[in-house]
Structures are given as structure tokens and as C-alpha cells.
């Protein structure tokens, strides 16, 4: 009897002999768990997860995640100041039509078990998106259903673990199809369109549900004043049992030329928020090497101090056609 393991990308059970996931095409070798201690190589790990020789704790599975699928890559990193990675990322390919789905969520660190919230959100949203797109749903409609499904998944967490400070998180999703990019979000995680042509405009596709952004949008403060305020990053909308009715924002753009869709948590954009600067830093590498590009952006945020968890997903546009898997490197 062979023991099946969950695919690190999509959770589908896969055979240990498989090199790629049947469901999402993710390369399974990318995330093979390290045997023994990552610090000293000793094989004995105690029941508390510490190395019996050097005492290092085996890095939590979520401390650092590198995802590399055909046509999409993502990195999620604990950063340098937080003890846990409360960000989550899910990446899927909708087989047949070549659409790519990316979902990023950032757990609100002042809530209880924020890592549960973000994990539940990305799983629910990605599952819903893939199912709806397979059914032939329009991406905008599928996106709204996905955000609503994520919201209920997060709200339901308090059923098993009652809490005065319900688990909460942001969400941002992107569906990258052959002719359009559809983004949905709640909170301050972002999606950017970065144009391959340096003369064409790049832009942030999302509008943060944050105090500062809302003040600017309402014309009550200029950007500089608003972002200097201590309340600047306070969320005005989120997912969670205490969030009230969730209204997903969606936007669809139809790029006229090649570029990349960048989806990220504020652990990145706090250090680099301007779309043109992001484009200059990311392109053209990201067109052909999305994983290298996602890693470079993560490293950039770490070098700037890594104050928050950092999650970055990079999807070249137009998406690569669905592959058979066996030709992947």
C-alpha cells in the first residue's frame, strides 16, 4: 500500500511517485520536505519539533513556501520580525483552458489564529474559482462567489474555536485568462498590472480597504498626510466572523500587450508600492522566469527589513497554454 500525500500546492492527494500533481500540474519536487534538521543535518527530531542535537526548531511548513507551476510562481516568507507566517497563498491552473488562478491572503495579526483565517480563505477561494470556471462561469462572477465563499470559511472558524477576537484576514484573487485579468479583493492585499512595454502604463488594480486609501478616495486627505497617519494601515474591510456583510470588489482589465500580473501582501508593497517602479524592478525577467522574479521581490523586502510576512505571486500574461506536464523542466 502506498501512502498518498497532499499536493503542497492544491491539497489533492498525490502518489509519492508522481513528479507533478495530477490536479494542478505543480512540480512536487519543489516542496519535498527536508529530512531531519535544516540547521545541522541531524536526523533525530524530538516530539516538540526541535533537533535533538542542535536544538533548532524545524522550520514550520509555512515559514517559507516556494511554488513553481507552469506559467505561475509564488513565494510566501515569514519575514524577519514575525514568528509565524500568517500569509497564505494558493495557486491553481484550470486544466484545459489554460487559465491561472492565484489567491493571496494576509492574516490580521491582532486577531486570534490569523494563520487559520488566511489558510481557510485561500483554500475556499481557489476551490470555488476553479469549480466555477470549469462550469463556464464568467471570471468576474466566479471571483465574487470565491470571495464570498472565503468570507464564510473564515467566519465559520469560530464555530470550532469560539473567540472574542475572531480570526480575520484580507484576500486578493486574480484569474488570468487569455484575453483578460480579473481581480477580486477585500482588505489591503494588492494586485498590479505590470506592462512589458516600459512606455505603457503599469498600475495597481486594487484599491485598499484601509483608512488612508479611503481618506484619499473620499477627498478628505492627500496621500502624504493620509499615509503618515498612525491609522493609515487600519483595515476598513476584512474577512472574519466580526466583519459584517462582505462586499467583494472586482475589476477586469483587458491588456493589449504582454506583461505580468503581480499579486502580493503588504509585506512587499510597504517597501515598493509604485507600479512603475515594480515594473522596472520585475521586467523583463518575470515574463520568462516567474519564480526567479518572485524570489527576487521577496529578497528585496527581506533586505529592507522584512517587518511583515511577505507573499508574492507572479503570472506572465498571456498565460502559457496548458501543458502535458512531462515537458516541464
Amino acid at each position: 500500500m502506498t501512502t498518498n500525500l497532499p499536493c503542497p500546492d492544491c491539497g489533492t492527494d498525490v502518489s509519492p511517485d508522481d513528479q507533478f500533481c495530477e490536479a494542478c500540474g505543480g512540480g512536487l519536487g519543489v516542496q519535498a520536505p527536508v529530512d531531519g534538521c535544516a540547521a545541522c543535518g541531524a536526523t533525530e527530531i524530538d516530539q516538540d519539533g526541535f533537533c535533538a542535537r542542535c536544538g533548532f526548531r524545524r522550520p514550520a511548513a509555512r515559514d517559507r513556501i516556494d511554488l513553481d507551476l507552469p506559467g505561475v510562481a509564488g513565494v510566501s516568507d515569514r519575514g524577519l520580525r514575525h514568528e509565524h507566517n500568517e500569509d497564505a497563498i494558493a495557486v491553481r491552473r484550470v486544466d484545459g483552458c489554460g487559465e491561472v488562478v492565484v489567491v493571496v491572503s494576509d492574516g490580521v495579526s491582532t486577531s486570534d489564529n490569523p494563520e487559520d483565517a488566511s489558510a481557510a480563505a485561500v483554500e475556499a477561494a481557489a476551490d470555488t474559482l476553479v469549480a466555477a470556471l470549469r462550469e463556464g462561469d464568467d471570471p468576474a462572477r466566479a471571483t465574487r462567489s470565491a470571495v464570498v465563499a472565503a468570507a464564510s470559511a473564515v467566519a465559520e472558524l469560530v464555530r470550532d474555536k469560539p473567540s472574542d477576537n475572531a480570526p480575520a484576514c484580507t484576500i486578493v484573487s486574480a484569474v488570468v485568462s487569455a484575453d483578460r485579468v480579473t481581480v477580486g479583493w477585500v482588505g489591503d492585499s494588492r494586485a498590479y498590472w505590470l506592462d512589458r512595454d516600459p512606455d505603457a502604463p503599469s498600475s495597481c488594480l486594487t484599491i485598499d480597504d484601509s483608512w488612508a486609501t479611503q481618506m484619499v478616495a473620499a477627498g478628505l486627505a492627500d496621500e502624504e498626510t493620509a499615509f503618515a497617519d498612525s491609522r493609515a494601515h487600519a483595515l476598513t474591510a476584512w474577512l472574519g466572523a466580526d466583519a459584517g456583510e462582505v462586499r467583494p470588489h472586482t475589476i477586469t482589465v483587458r491588456p493589449t500587450g504582454p506583461g505580468v500580473v503581480l499579486v502580493c501582501s503588504d509585506g512587499l508593497w510597504n517597501y515598493l508600492w509604485d507600479a512603475d517602479s515594480l515594473a522596472a524592478q520585475t521586467l523583463p525577467l518575470a515574463m520568462t522566469a516567474p519564480l526567479a522574479s518572485a524570489r527576487a521581490l521577496t529578497r528585496f523586502a527581506l533586505e529592507r527589513g522584512g517587518h511583515d510576512n511577505i507573499t508574492v505571486a507572479v503570472v506572465p500574461f498571456p498565460p502559457r497554454p496548458a501543458s502535458t506536464g512531462s515537458t516541464q523542466e
Binding site: C40, D48, C54, G55, F56, R57, R78, L80, R81, E83
Partner: protein
């Protein structure tokens, strides 16, 4: 069968270290609960040896010997049926009082009566050689591995009839084999000497300045010994490769440095004997130096286990706690000293300041004495150790307890100075929640 107590281990520490930080401090509290406590009559098998100083000085004043006999009788009466016991008379040699032929008697109405009549006939005549008394006790305890082994040692004088080296050697040989509670009666004994014996034998030390107090004290000590339900408990410390153990100290109820008592079982694991346990709690201060790691890394700096070692060599882990280290750039986190660690660090310094202050006073270095005892007054006041503060006030006049401004009293009774010295290691508890 005995019902073993439940051991609960809690760790109090600030696990955050600054970038490059090495020193990890933690207070490990061990609480043994349940088991019915002192009422657990007939619980674990026990063996008790009472050692009575019969040197000639016990006749001066004659109340010393008289009260020592009464106290020993009271201790014998406190032994529950079935406890194996003996009484030793200590001079420059060690002699059996009861049972006269050697070995241990089994306590019942008859043996208790006989033991008391033998004790009543004791005469004081001879010298003092504590090491030889302990050697005889060690012999008597041999073969009693299944029992909780406890001795009471009473002396009134200096260890004159054997060399300090001989005593050291005996202590090293007996360490961990049985527990000895030591009492000094009168004021002609040496605090430092008896403290060394008690520390090595994992027992308590106290002064009974007035012989009349002996009876109640012996009774209480025996009752406590009868309440012990698990013997041969060791504190086992695992440390990561490359780490250095700075110290392991008992921090409560008294300060007791265990660092040098490590019995290494492997390069990374060592045991520190803690003696027998009843329903009680003790706190330990563990300080380990580790190799620094990256910001965000989490390391196990120590695993502290309480282990019961049985005669057949099988170990049972009674409880354990983890001491961790996490490196952070956030100095607000890394510079914080955990209040419980701070409290016991202060209590250890308090004991040291008293002992050094009294020693300076004894040799006539009055400036040092004033400074050290002043520091002790401030530490006692700040930590709410009122027992120690009261004892200090018998040796110095306190002008300001906050800053520790004091004047040495010109007239201090020998008993007050010795009481302060003997009880200097008693610590006050701290709220841990």
C-alpha cells in the same frame, strides 16, 4: 502501593534574545501535587537515621543534651509503623545507640520504646567528626534502595576531629544517597561548615539557638520526611550541542547552587540530584549559553525533566518543560527581563550580600560589611522578603530601606548574627501569573 504525586513543570522566561545574544535564563518551577500529601500514611517505604552530637560540649549548658534527648524521642514517636530507623551518637567516632547491634530497626510500639530508653541513657563525652557520623549513616542506609532515605543531624560545635578534606571526601561519596537536614544548637558551631554539609546532602540547615526549640523542630522535620512519597528524583537537563551551562540553581525555597553536582549521562544530558519529594514546590534557575542564530530562528536551549530513578535503574519522567530562545531585532522585546527571573536573581544576590557582609564584619572590614548588608536590606525590601528584612534589622540599624543606607549595630548577639547567616538563603516567593 504508594500513589505518586503529579509533577507539574512550568517555565518562566523571556525567550527573546537580541541579535548575537547567547545567554538564556529561565525559572523552572516544579510543583508536586495530589498523592494525599503528609497524610499519605503507609505510602512509600522510608528509612530514618537520627544523628545526635554527644561531644562533651553538649553538657554546657546541660540543657543542650537534655533537650536533644527529648527532641530525638519526639522524632522517634513521629515515625510511622514500618519505617526502618536507627539512632547514632556522634563524637570523634560514630556509635550505634539503637539498635545497639547495628542495622536498622522496624518502627513499632516496642522498638520505639526501646529506642527512647537507649536515647535517655546517652552521655556527652568526646569530640566532633561529622564525616564519620555520615559514613555510618551511609552504611546503615545501604540496601535500602527502595526506601526514601532521610537523616537528621544535630551538632553544637566545630568539626574538630577530622580534616576538612576528609569531610569533603565523605560528602562527595554520600551525595545523592540520602538527604540530611542539619541543625546547629547553641552558637558554638560554624554556619558555613554546616551549610556545606546540608547543601551537599540536599537538606535544610537551621539554627536552634535555644535548646528548648529542638523538640518541635525534630518533630516537624520527621513529619516532613514521612510525607515524602517519591525518592531519588533528579533534575535532568538536555542542552543543544555547543551550549555551555552557566549554572543550575535551586531558587526556592532556598538558594542552592547545583551546577557542580551534574552527573553527565551523555555530552548533552546531565542529571542533578534533588532528593525526595512530597507535596511541595521548588523553583530552579537555569542559565545556558547557546550559539546565536538568525533573527526569527527558534531554538530549544534546554529541556528540563524531573526524573525518578528507581533502584533497578529504570527512569521515569515525571514532568518536563522547555527553555527556548528566539532571536529578534526588536529590542523592546529582547531587553525585557522576565519578572520571575529578575526576582530570583535578586534573591540569589541577597543571600550572597548577607554572607559576604557578615564575613566582612567578622574580620573587621566594617566598610565592606556596611555596604554589603546595606545592599541586602535594599534587596530584601524591594522583593518583599520580610523574614530576611527582620533578621537584617537585628544586625544593622536601617536609615533608608529603599537605598539601603544602614549603620552596623555595635552590639549584636551571636545568635542573631548566626540566624541571619543560616537563613540568608531563604527566598521569598513571587507571583508568577
Amino acid at each position: 502501593m504508594s500513589t505518586s504525586p503529579e509533577f507539574r513543570v512550568d517555565v518562566y522566561q523571556n525567550e527573546y534574545l537580541p541579535v548575537g545574544g547567547r545567554e538564556v535564563n529561565a525559572i523552572v518551577t516544579v510543583a508536586a501535587t495530589g498523592s494525599g500529601g503528609a497524610q499519605a500514611q503507609g505510602a512509600a517505604p522510608a528509612a530514618e537515621v537520627i544523628i545526635v552530637d554527644c561531644s562533651g560540649s553538649m553538657n554546657y549548658p546541660p540543657t543542650k543534651l537534655r533537650e536533644a534527648k527529648r527532641a530525638t524521642a519526639a522524632a522517634i514517636d513521629t515515625l510511622r509503623d514500618g519505617v526502618r530507623f536507627a539512632v547514632i551518637a556522634g563524637t570523634e567516632r560514630a556509635g550505634m545507640v539503637y539498635p545497639r547491634e547495628g542495622g536498622l530497626a522496624v518502627a513499632d510500639a516496642r522498638t520505639r520504646q526501646r529506642a527512647k530508653s537507649s536515647v535517655a541513657q546517652l552521655v556527652a563525652d568526646g569530640g566532633t567528626a561529622i564525616g564519620r557520623w555520615l559514613s555510618l549513616a551511609d552504611e546503615l542506609f545501604r540496601g535500602q534502595d527502595d526506601a526514601i532515605r532521610h537523616a537528621i543531624l544535630l551538632t553544637d560545635g566545630r568539626n574538630e576531629h577530622e580534616s576538612p578534606a576528609a569531610l569533603e571526601q565523605t560528602l562527595a561519596a554520600c551525595h545523592g544517597r540520602f538527604v540530611v537536614d542539619c541543625r546547629g544548637v547553641g552558637t558554638d558551631w560554624v554556619v558555613d561548615e554546616l551549610r556545606k554539609v546540608a547543601n551537599a546532602m540536599l537538606g535544610t540547615v537551621d539554627i536552634v539557638a535555644d535548646p528548648v526549640g529542638l523538640e518541635a523542630d525534630f518533630q516537624a522535620m520527621t513529619a516532613t520526611a514521612m510525607g515524602k512519597s517519591v525518592g531519588d528524583v533528579r533534575l535532568r537537563l538536555w542542552t543543544p550541542q555547543g551550549a555551555t551551562i552557566r549554572f543550575v540553581k535551586q531558587a526556592e525555597p532556598t538558594v542552592l547552587d547545583l551546577t557542580g553536582r551534574r552527573i553527565a549521562t551523555s555530552a548533552q544530558v546531565g542529571d542533578y540530584p534533588t532528593g525526595a519529594w512530597g507535596t511541595e514546590s521548588r523553583d530552579y534557575h537555569v542559565c545556558v549559553e547557546v550559539n546565536p542564530a538568525k533573527v526569527g530562528d527558534v531554538m530549544l536551549a534546554g529541556r528540563v525533566s524531573l526524573v525518578s530513578v528507581s533502584p533497578d535503574g529504570r527512569d521515569e519522567v515525571l514532568g518536563q518543560g522547555l527553555v527556548k530562545a528566539t532571536w529578534t531585532e526588536d529590542t523592546a522585546r529582547s531587553t525585557k527581563i522576565h519578572p520571575v527571573v529578575a526576582h530570583y536573581t535578586g534573591q540569589a544576590e541577597l543571600a550572597e550580600a548577607i554572607q559576604e557582609g557578615l564575613e566582612a564584619r567578622r574580620v573587621g572590614d566594617l566598610d565592606t560589611a556596611t555596604a554589603k548588608l546595606g545592599r541586602a536590606v535594599a534587596l530584601a525590601a524591594r522583593s518583599g522578603n520580610t523574614d530576611t528584612a527582620t533578621l537584617l534589622a537585628k544586625v544593622v540599624d536601617v536609615d533608608d530601606p529603599v537605598t539601603g543606607r544602614v549603620r552596623l549595630k555595635t552590639k549584636v548577639s551571636q545568635a542573631d548574627a548566626m540566624t541571619l547567616d543560616t537563613r540568608s538563603t531563604k527566598t521569598s516567593r513571587v507571583r508568577k501569573s
